[in-house]
Amino acid sequence: MNQRKLWDLLPRFTPILAVLLALLVGAIMLIALGTNPWIAYEALFVGAFGSTNALADTIVKATPLLFVGLGICIAFRGGVLNIGGEGQLVAGAVAATAVALAVPTLPGWLIILVSLFAGMLAGGIWGGLAGFLKAQFHVNEILSTIMLNYIAVFGMNYLLRGPMMDPLQAKLGSFIPQTARLPRAADLPRLIPTRLHLGAAIAVVLAVAVYILLWRTTIGFRIRTVGKNMRAALGAGINVKGYMVLSLLLAGALAGLGGAVEVLGLHHRMFTDGSAFGFTGSAGFNGIVAALFGQLHPIGTIPASFLLGALLTGANKMQRVVQIPSALFGALNGLIVLLVVGSEIIRRRQARRIDREPKAVKMASKVKDE
């Protein structure tokens, strides 16, 4: 009996085993490049968890992943594939920056509130636009969100090198595409004297809110119904089109809020290098990874984002310590994602028997087992 219990527990560890396998492959690559993998992996761990600063960096890295991931939970469960995280993050960040710069005389907490709201609104519009295009014109959301990503970036470039550029830049003659520094009162408070800012706490609170939304409200129920079975939803009289728009709108709003939080908490100004990635760190894509690792559950997305953030932060430290091209760590990152997601089947086989059956059957089988 004990043996069987152990065997049943094994699938829960498959993600960890998959990560270990990927690290093994990485170790081979490191050795091929003339580096000691132990030193490298020690750096990975130290970089992610080894000090207060490291832990703070990990959480800071995980925060936008969580914001985007929460939005993905809503969208994917609502049956819409939101690949537009990058553009929504940017839209939210630019909007928040514009608003914060426009009202420097307000009390700090009010600037923060208004700016974050602006970010949410902008992201929501950006996501909702894709939803509208899908509902009204049957434009597939994978296409529209990918295209909107680029449009957002070009819009950002225009604003940041033009109307929103720091007047100081033009005066100095260096024309760096960034805005003025936001009023200091708008800085999100630090949780401890490191880079860790309130944004992480906001994200966690929102995770709970999204959970409540999806499983404790009628709206959430309808979102999930549309995602699971569109025909049944239509039959039940649910406004499927409207809920698709809503799902994308909410996903965009969360991502936009994430972008706003990044600006107010971390950078305190908006900047560009021509692409979105310098600002987002690919959180628009990594957030999808985090959400899927978290089984599309908002609470599950929290540890998933944290671990992904740890991996990314630790990988940067690894690069600094062993002085190997950062490309290796990008490849390793991809390999870990591949192996973890590829090994899901082992975990799922076990869970599926229990989770996917309708409640009545589940109860019956539980009784049977005992």
Partner: protein
């Protein structure tokens, strides 16, 4: 006995001081650099990397060591890197990218005994009470002007094409300089500019070059790492190219006429000297033609290489008759 003991102590202490002193002198100057693109990008990042390698060769590895983190285009990662290197006690940390400014503003005050350098910019944050940040930039409009003059002289159609990333920073300076140089040499010349919106879209850069050529340009120039695509097209179509930031001749020696090369040596050496004397920041540097930071190279193979070959191969009849 006491007398002897105190003499011994003095003797030992002085040996210690001597050793520490020698140790301090012998300790290498350590630099960490963070760059937004790859060290082999034939442009911005490569220029800094090449300079650091050259300085290390000159000063010797015992005296100068550097580490680097390239492809740090994600600013929050770069900030973590800067902070990490600072806490490891590097003497100078170079944030080689204008997007790193806000990060430096936060980090520099936390490490008052470390020197930071930020480029390309002129702002040393001195007006915010920060004294350990150097600033450096490249007056790339100077080399741009020179390239423009030569381009206008070599162009037969009088139409020139420019391929740039986004209209900011030293890219903007370079293009303005180039345009000015062309106009000053040939006021009828036309300079068409395309900004392709990215530092890495090689395909679009190459198609932009193609478009310029279709519009009649026979001389092209551009800035940032994606121009390798444009150079490829220029090579295919036999159109001349002027480069900037790094020496791009090796990509297409038949058509790369001249380059403006960023040589940060003069800037870095001055910083190193100042740091050793105790000044950790507050000075803004510029690469100029005057101080040797900007170097102009001209590749005669592109201009008259064909002629030289023809003479060597006897294709040109140099029998000029009797010369009086």
């Amino acid at each position: 006995m006491n007398h002897q003991r105190s003499l011994l102590v003095v003797f030992l202490v002085s040996i210690l001081v001597f050793l520490v002193g020698v140790g301090a002198l012998a300790a290498p100057f350590r630099v960490a650099v963070i760059m937004p693109s790859s060290i082999n990008d034939m442009a911005f990042s490569q220029s800094m990397y090449d300079t650091l390698v050259a300085i290390q060769n000159e000063m010797g590895e015992d005296n100068f060591q550097f580490v680097y983190s390239d492809n740090m285009y994600v600013v929050s990662d770069a900030a973590a890197a800067i902070r990490d290197y600072a806490s490891q006690g590097y003497d100078l940390i170079i944030a080689h990218g204008s997007q790193y400014g806000s990060s430096l503003m936060e980090i520099a005050p936390d490490f008052p005994h470390t020197s930071f350098a930020w480029g390309t910019t002129v702002d040393t944050f001195v007006d915010q009470g920060i004294n350990n940040v150097f600033a450096y930039e490249a007056r790339s409009e100077q080399g741009g002007y020179v390239n423009g003059v030569l381009a206008a002289r070599l162009s037969q159609t009088g139409i020139m094409g420019v391929i740039g990333p986004i209209e900011t920073g030293d890219a903007k300076l370079y293009v303005e300089g180039f345009k000015a140089g062309v106009m000053a040499t040939n006021s009828d010349a036309v300079v068409n500019v395309t900004w392709i919106g990215s530092f890495s879209d090689v395909a679009l850069a190459s198609e932009a070059a193609q478009t310029h050529i279709n519009a009649g340009a026979d001389v092209l120039t551009g800035t940032a790492q994606m121009v390798v695509g444009a150079i490829g097209v220029a090579r295919q179509k036999g159109v001349l190219w002027f480069g900037t930031q790094a020496d791009q001749t090796s990509l297409a020696p038949e058509i790369v006429v001249g380059n403006q090369i960023y040589d940060w040596t003069v800037v870095l050496k001055s910083m190193i000297d100042l740091i050793k004397e105790g000044t950790l920041g507050g000075k803004a540097y510029a690469l100029t033609l005057a101080n040797g930071g900007l170097k102009i190279t001209v590749n005669d193979q592109a201009i008259v290489g064909q002629t030289i070959n023809d003479i060597i191969e006897g294709k040109i009849d140099l029998n000029l008759g009797e010369i009086h």
